[in-house]
Symmetry: D2
Subunit: 287 residues, 4 copies
């Protein structure tokens, strides 16, 4: 079951099931935010999907059309965390690595993953909203990632995330990582929240296409089956000595890297598609 927020009719929460879309905000119980369903599911012990179906079928919840260009952020996470160096690195790639990146290889081989606080609410945008590239950075890239959605400390579903980054700033010194990662419009999530308690999470296919002047200038494809870390270990380490807020997104790292000569620019459009979740589309602006 998937959930969306849509601007028309006025900020509606929409559930998709069996190919139909239902406006939960127009249901008798007027559910406005996913957080309300997460809380009701927690308190009642009823699975989110069963709870939602009950609302759909017992409250005469009206059907709506999904309007992809009217989508908003499906829920507002209290925080977005992100992980790095999580995908398998080929032997060949390792050979190519320069001295600098020993730091990355060390992460790759260490028990503790790389994790960082990626964004607070004012820095996260939803579908169709512009993502930002830093004006003081010469080399910027999108990072298409599967986002784990946690309610309190429990994994309850998935979304698509874009961990936009300055490669030049991070590249010049690893202690600059937070500046390369945390800035205005540096994170996008959406288009949907995919609820699941039985998916095979290591089989998500992730693709990215970047358009410049309407022409595709990058296309790439990967799968979460190439991950070198389990979600459990990422969540375990993020939660160590750390009390999570009610709603956290954990971006699980990227393995789709445009060629070194590619620099994301104002006016580009980034489409990230994860099968079963949807396509997260964001234009790019300089910030």
């Amino acid at each position: 079951m998937k959930f969306y927020k849509q601007k028309n009719p006025k900020s509606s929460l929409i559930a998709e099931t069996d190919g139909s879309y239902y406006n939960l905000t127009a249901a008798r119980s007027r559910v406005k935010e996913l957080k309300e369903l997460f809380r009701a599911s927690e308190l009642s012990g009823i699975k989110l999907s069963d709870l939602t179906e009950q609302i759909i079928y017992e409250e005469g919840t009206p059907n709506v059309n999904l309007l992809p260009d009217q989508l908003e952020i499906p829920f507002s996470p209290d925080e977005v965390w992100a992980a790095g160096v999580t995908y398998k690195i080929s032997e060949e790639a390792r050979q190519r690595e320069s001295e600098m990146s020993e730091i990355y290889l060390d992460i790759y081989e260490s028990k503790r993953p790389e994790l960082f606080l990626k964004a607070t609410p004012s820095r996260v945008v939803g579908p169709n909203d512009p993502i930002g590239v830093r004006e003081d950075s010469e080399w910027n890239v999108p990072e298409p990632e599967l986002g784990l959605v946690l309610y309190k400390d429990e994994l309850i579903g998935y979304t698509v995330g874009n961990d936009v980054s300055s490669r030049s700033i991070e590249g010049s010194n690893p202690l600059y990582l937070p500046q390369a990662k945390v800035y205005n419009r540096s994170c996008a999530i959406g288009p949907s929240f995919l609820y699941s308690d039985q998916l095979e999470p290591y089989n998500f296919e992730i693709s990215m296409e970047i358009l410049r002047d309407g022409i595709s200038v990058y296309e790439g494809l990967t799968s979460t089956n190439q991950l070198n870390r389990s979600f459990d270990e990422l969540i375990e380490y993020m939660s160590k000595s750390n009390i999570l807020n009610d709603l956290t997104v954990l971006l699980t790292g990227t393995s789709l890297v445009p060629p070194d000569e590619f620099d994301l620019k104002d006016g580009d459009v980034v489409n990230i598609t994860i099968e079963g979740i949807g396509t997260l589309t964001n234009p790019v602006v300089s910030v």
Copy 2:
């Protein structure tokens, strides 16, 4: 002029001027949070100190006693950022540096300072509240720092800050910095907010004392005149491509470093004193 929040009488905002303490929450206009004064000062164009004196003298604001063990966090910052490698490093210290710390020397010599998002509201504690040391870290330290207080993007005053850190986690890989810095109870600020539009900010004397079983196990003293970065440049870089929230604290880095064999432990008490602001006292707990 200094401001405090005190638990008794019930969560009062207190202004200190000319050695007297006034309970602004008991004034006719019932000011509960510093944010209200910041906003009124912004909208009226009247200096915060003049505005506050007006409230004190025209509203018959009652005097109170300051009760140091009843102090709360003086204001709730939307975010705390922090800087590293900001103090002068002696030639001798540089010689001692190992290969690993070339990364730090590089920061020292670069135009761009080291800056990171240190804490969100749920991770910041006030005076007398416990600060945390990570259970999964073998080596933990307090970092006593002058905190710049920004309203929107303007420097409006100062506070004392403690940027509690895991030295072992940061030390094992610089990409672990966020994990060494951002965790439960990893930041303290207080005891007061010092308003000033004419202080000499490079003359703050900072001292730290650490008590174990009531006995002093560390004492150190430094001054902001040892800074190698100006506050302006720290604020400038923090604000680049970054929209600040209403209320930000920027911790300006530390130069008081206990000896390598010192590890901050559950049960210790850390006192950080900055002349003119006060002493920030926090017991330590494992988190």
Copy 3:
């Protein structure tokens, strides 16, 4: 099942079932307000009592002691409405009526009940908090009443209410009714919220005792079986052309009237007991 809020431990929501008290705020899901349970019950379709028992038994919810003098208002209603002239009037009483009270007899015989907006949140107090008598009124009385609790437009339970009133102001002109009824501290509710979907609501025994200098100066007893209006008709009329807020209390009128020479005074204490709900105790202050 009954619910309370208690100041110690810090503002806890407590459920009473089978003679035991459980601190829902200390349960794993940390329920702070009854409103959260009402919403979860609405969305899940699970009865409030079943939902609560599930939280109690599956989350290891701790037992607590109920401390009657530590009770707070059990929930904060968005509005309190009240009804008048709802109890049976004896033939004898009717004979005694003066010309003035034809207005009341007319209400008694009319289809439409007397209903009015009694209090907004800032005017409602909980157990042990002072209720107010108007300084500009010579004759004040408590009115002990059964309170219906509505979530949206559904009756979900009961509480005890005190519709404190100025008899002299109302008596001098019926158009002064709102001034006789709506003022500072003019309404009390508590001590508990009694949930029920199967009570016999016309069998609540209501008693009131008023203490002056610790001595009982009034005692009275009645029952909701003396009502001349059904709850359904009161709710129906209150809801006509009126969109209720999420949480409304409807006080159902009084039939316990102290003798005409009785005037409620600053320093008195009013105890109203409804069997099965508890005793609502409030001292009296002049306002």
Copy 4:
């Protein structure tokens, strides 16, 4: 100086001075609600108009066009109170009065005015929003009134108000007054908030026109110089034993009464104009 809220650009607060309109929400300090200015004026001791001019002239506040059909409620009052029987009654009118209305004549001659809690936020609409007539009432009327705006307990300005009422319900019994007055969409205020510390408030000209199918079916004109009560006495009585919220509107009663055969109906449009404040336009719906 007058203030408006306008839907486009997105919920903007607009100040009118010297015939120009300024978008305070687009000023550097981004003022979104009048309440922010009221608070800043209170804390700074600067008059609201001076404070606003300072924002306009020192922050480069942009000009906008006023779009009358895009106006929203200029501020959201915590409560609306209303007064009745406040205008002079001619000797002739008194002769006509039936027995029933002795109650009204008694109010007219009494020291204590008629005052009642007219509306809570969910029942108040702004310009262009529909006002309601009760479906269960045969005879409904608009009541055009000058609204006093109080910040805490101080009169700070004026607005236009419509105290829509059911004459048949009130007429059948004076104790039904609250039902005749308090219901869904029973109150409108707007289009502007007129700030003033030096107006002659007893010289406001109030006119009303009611349109049915686009044709004027009622026109009337009166002036606050016909009032039989001073604003001071109305405010004094409303504040007795009553703690006002931050923002209260007090509607000062009506003297424009359509003829007895006139019944306000679904589809009508009511225009109330007070010179110097503007025209409050509301279509009528059955509720």
